[in-house]
């Protein structure tokens, strides 16, 4: 182990979905965001984290799970609907395998997805008993993952703070929801949309938050200008530590000019 490191890198994943829940409809298109995210993000994450845990790799990643997302993952109706979603897709795959039997390339793809969705069904229903939040909790309890919270409804503090009680409520309920699912208090918070206002500081401190994740320019535009730029966290007057996103890494993911989403 290098005892004199040149620096440190921190991987922080932010998992959030808006709360979409429609018991009044048999189907609701936007609920599929959750189902797609479970299949394409949360289950793969859990699978890979579990593998690393089994291989004794101390991966130490930080991850935020927002209250709206946690509430949806914990919702029985949505869990049942996810299972229905998977079963429908499995049925489609089976039909596609028959239909594409003369086209080996597409047939292989159909078989891949049949395997994939069947695995998801097994993982979700049998392995985690429909409760994937437990999966993340287990990883945190074993010291591999650090989970942080977010605002109660992912409300944007720089606009809410004209009524400071709204900001306090966002933080309070964010912490409360976290405690309900993870059995401990959160040390950090991913600010909703990385939006920071100085007025939020006292409430963050009140609820025991030690550090926040904010935007690159939230750090760079600080007064006084931080000497290390985004490469080291800075501390606010009330003692809250702020980490900013790395510019170059973020650009590759988000930039519409020179990153993945850009139009080619």
């Amino acid at each position: 182990m290098n005892t004199n490191p040149k620096g440190y890198v921190s991987f922080v994943l932010h998992a959030h979905l808006p709360f979409v829940h429609h018991p009044e409809s048999a189907n609701y298109l936007e609920e599929e965001w959750l189902f797609e995210a479970i299949s394409e993000t949360y289950i793969p994450l859990l699978n890979n984290f579990k593998k690393l845990e089994e291989e004794n790799v101390d991966f130490r990643i930080t991850m935020s799970l927002t209250p709206p997302l946690l509430s949806m993952l914990d919702n029985k109706l949505l869990q049942d609907r996810y299972i229905k979603y998977l079963k429908k897709h499995i049925e489609l795959c089976e039909k596609e395998i028959i239909r594409t039997k003369d086209n080996p390339r597409i047939n292989a793809l159909s078989k891949y997805y049949l395997y994939r969705y069947s695995q998801d069904l097994y993982t979700f229903k049998d392995e985690y008993n429909c409760n994937i939040i437990q999966g993340f909790k287990h990883l945190q309890d074993n010291g591999f993952l650090e989970i942080i919270t977010c605002g109660a409804t992912h409300g944007y503090f720089p606009l809410l703070y004209v009524n400071e009680k709204a900001v306090r409520a966002q933080i309070a309920v964010g912490v409360q929801t976290y405690e309900k699912y993870f059995g401990r208090k959160p040390k950090g918070i991913w600010l909703p949309e990385c939006g920071y206002v100085p007025e939020a500081d006292k409430y963050l401190k009140e609820f025991g938050i030690e550090y926040i994740i904010t935007e690159s320019h939230g750090i760079l535009y600080a007064n006084p200008t931080p000497v290390y730029g985004t490469f080291a966290p800075i501390v606010s007057p009330t003692g809250i530590v702020a980490f900013g996103r790395d510019m170059e890494a973020s650009k590759q993911v988000w930039s519409s000019i020179c990153g993945y989403p850009r139009r080619l």
């Binding site: 009044e24 690159s216 535009y221 006084p224 200008t225 003692g239 996103r245 650009k251 988000w254």
Partner: protein, 256 residues
């Protein structure tokens, strides 16, 4: 007042269920603006409704569970006199306002029943950091406004008032807003000086001060920097320092 719509809900919808629901309601919303014009001072929303739900089911049917689904419209106003500013961007402020019935009545009592016809609403924007103000003429159909202000990182406060249409000098103050500092939009190179840097040990709370020149990373880079701009040029070699923005905003930032 909320508009309530009764909807039949059932998680397991029976195969063939036909239902007809008829909601009859009349909404009589009187906007504060229009009421001003009429000389009345009410911002009440009057809603009268009769909701009838009729349901007919055919063939294999289960008893359908009905659950109430309520759809709310946020009220037009809360009958409070208030002016609030929010910062949309470093150079754009958003202001919203409302005048309570009581205050409207008081103004009418004080200035006459034609007060709201004889005056036009205006906003006075004070930049208290740079000590200047400017006036914006608005109109009674609006209860919010976007204000372009040239200077980020300044203290702003907005006043709502009315001016006589015929006599531009007569100004009646109504209310003033919260004061906000508009967000900063650039790295504060002009303010930064490289004297000493403060470090805080978050475990012990101890604050220590180090001279900038003694910092290890500066010595590792092997060059003495005169100002933060040079340091950042080294740290962010691929960036245009004067244009460093939120990586996800790209070309959609509004430039004023």
């Amino acid at each position: 007042m909320p508009r309530v719509k009764r909807v039949n809900e059932n998680e397991e919808v029976a195969k063939k269920v036909t239902k007809t629901a008829s909601n009859k309601k009349t909404t009589n919303k009187e906007k504060a603006v229009k009421s001003e014009m009429k000389g009345k001072t009410t911002a009440k929303n009057k809603t009268t409704k009769t909701a009838k739900t009729k349901e007919t089911t055919t063939e294999e049917t289960k008893t359908v569970n009905t659950m109430l689904s309520e759809y709310y419209d946020l009220p037009y106003g809360y009958n409070q006199t208030t002016v609030k500013i929010l910062a949309q961007t470093p150079t754009t402020l958003f202001v919203y306002w409302d005048i309570s019935d009581e205050d409207r009545n008081n103004l009418v009592k004080q200035y006459g029943k034609n007060f709201f016809y004889e005056t036009k609403p205006i906003l006075i924007v004070h930049n208290t950091t740079r000590s200047y103000s400017f006036e914006i003429e608005i109109n009674d159909f609006a209860n919010s406004w976007y204000i372009r202000c040239q200077e980020p990182n300044c203290d702003y406060i907005v006043e709502l008032g009315r001016k006589k249409i015929e006599n531009n000098n007569e100004y009646i103050f109504i209310d003033s807003s919260n004061d906000i500092i508009s967000p900063n939009d650039h790295i504060l190179f002009e303010k930064a000086n490289l004297g000493s840097v403060l470090f805080k040990n978050v475990k012990t709370g101890v604050v220590s001060s180090k001279d900038f020149g003694s910092l290890r990373f500066i010595n590792d880079i092997d060059k003495l920097y005169g100002n933060i701009y040079d340091v950042y040029s080294r740290l962010y070699q691929n960036e245009d320092l004067n244009e460093m923005m939120n990586p996800s905003s790209g070309e959609f930032i509004m430039r004023s």
